[in-house]
Amino acid sequence: MNKKREIILHTAIIFSFVMVVLRLADLMIINHKRLAERAKQQHVKVENVPARRGIIFDRLGREIALNLERESLYGDPESLNLTNEDIKKLALVVEKEPRVILSKIPEGGRFAWIERKLGPEAAEKIRALDIKGLGLLPEAKRYYPNGDLASHILGFVGIDNQALEGTELQYDKYLKTAGGKIFLGRDASGRTLSSGVNTEAKGNNVVLTIDEVLQHITEKELDRAMVKWRAAAASAIVMDPFTGEILALANRPSYDPNRPGSASNSERRNRAITDCYEPGSTFKIVIGAGSLEEKIVRPNSLFDVSRGGIEAGGKTIRDVHKYGVLSFQEVIQKSSNVGSIMVGMKLGKERIYQYAKLLGFGEKTGIDLPGEVSGWMVPPEKWSGTSIGAIPIGQEVAVTPLQVLRAYAAIANGGFLVRPHVVSEVISPDGQALVSFRNREKKRVLSARTAELFKDILKSVVEEGGTGESASVNGNEVAGKTGTAQMTNPLTKRYSKEKYVSSFVGFVPAEDPKLAIIVVVYEPKGQIYGGVVAAPVFRDIADKALSYLDVPREDIPQRNALLVMQ
């Protein structure tokens, strides 16, 4: 009997073990892959690592483009069952019409954005509504704390933080970053375990050459000029003439990069590098510097301009005022068209073209901003009969304000053509320098002697009797040149009698230049001359900028302080 029981017991135990082994084989061998996958899905949560664009700083480390944490509202159309009451409440929170909200929810599918990048208060209100089928996802919103300040340099990004313009676009490869995925453990109730890693991917930061204060000064003065002259547009650039660092670059009209969608194409245009204009007398630098370099003229060489006009290709070009005999210095100082054409004829068309090219006209400056145009400089073989009377005085050529500024910077720095740039370096999120754009190459285009001689001539432009007298800054010598050019009427293809471009370009202090500045005002009303319209804007920008930069006045001697070392 006992033996029989023993056999039954043994059989039951063995059978149980076999069953367990079979089940284990089922779990661990036959269905292993499927079950392991299910277990992984239940225990591991995959999350996207949020990617944040790098910060953009000005030259002193002030943030001018950063990221804000926002939440975006999405709906799951399959599980979403919105009542009229829900839609009304939702519409109130997101400040949209109910029909706009409904139009964003498709019939099928599992995901649809309803409103992107909501503020923290709105997100909290939506969370409180507790509507099934609605959810919030964290997203970064690009934020420009200074509004429209430096908007044409900064550019802007799209709704998905994709770069669309300006530095954001040019340096996108450094600023953007890929977020990737992160695997988090979680329990049955959905609580996640510590990831133990950084849950945010940051792009590299970009340091601009722009100074926020100089930029503000420039924009403010440009705004004043726009109001005063009821101008259609205006541009101004402030540059370090020795390094090519752009310290400020502003255009009017402008826009707020926080709301690029509400700006027109005209407002978004970076005129300083994308718009060409006929420079007028500021282009006289080409014949001026060229003839000095070729030793064709000396500052005291005389030109008889007493007739007040000169004929070139059947067209007579006149001076604004009649002069008698002018020295070469006076030709530039008084901006005599007749005298400049005489100098141009002495220089010859090949050399005019050669020096225009040497000074960077007709080609891109290479500035690190998108959309730059090369301008237009006709080769001598294609010149018409009137060209020799037009090109020396800045007609029949198209330039950008930046090209003109770069050419004058070559006079300021002793004859070198610099490469303008707006970014000085790229740094990692923890502050390590990755790429430096300082000490960019520069090319000698004029001898130091020519630069020095032409600088003296430019100084006389701003002195009494010159066309740019109103550009003079209290306490410091200015060297510069005025420009007044007629605009072309696009319908008649002839020069307009009402529309002008007034400009002034120069540098200060003349003997030890700290700033090279150009101001271009398009279609001013009431006055047209560069010396009246643009030169005072130059003066106001220069005066405030020198004050900000603590550049001493030259008319007050520095006081020597006796410092005894302890």
């Binding site: 990221n67 200074n146 375990l193 510590s194 133990g196 004050s547 006045r553």
Partner: protein
């Protein structure tokens, strides 16, 4: 027969001891594992708090940047000319004189040691 006795006693004691050891080991493992998980939950909560505060910090940084912008500061002091950018006529620039002044008579060793 006499030699086998101590081993028999030992084997009698070892078995329950080993069983106890296994039981204690299993419980310790479970305890450690649960403690580890508890720690991970704690860490996860702290990380979430950290993320929240980082978010707050970003908001405050943006606000600070707006408030400290030159345009804002200048706007606040509008009309008070010269407060932001000084009047250049009133600024005196001092230049350091490189030559040393004569020594002051003193018995201090420090001063005598100066070049």
């Amino acid at each position: 027969m006499m030699r086998e006795k101590p081993f028999a006693i030992l084997s009698f004691a070892i078995k329950p001891l080993l069983i106890c050891l296994i039981v204690i080991g299993v419980f310790s493992l479970v305890y450690l594992r649960s403690g580890f998980l508890r720690l991970e939950y704690g860490l996860s909560e702290i990380e979430q708090k950290k993320m929240h505060y980082l978010k707050e910090r970003k908001m405050l940084l943006a606000e600070k940047t707006s408030l400290l912008s030159f345009a804002k500061v200048e706007g606040d002091f509008n009309g008070k000319e010269g407060f932001i950018l000084p009047d250049r006529l009133k600024v005196v620039h001092l230049s350091r004189q490189k030559t040393y002044a004569s020594y002051k008579a003193s018995l201090e060793k420090k001063q005598l040691a100066e070049p």
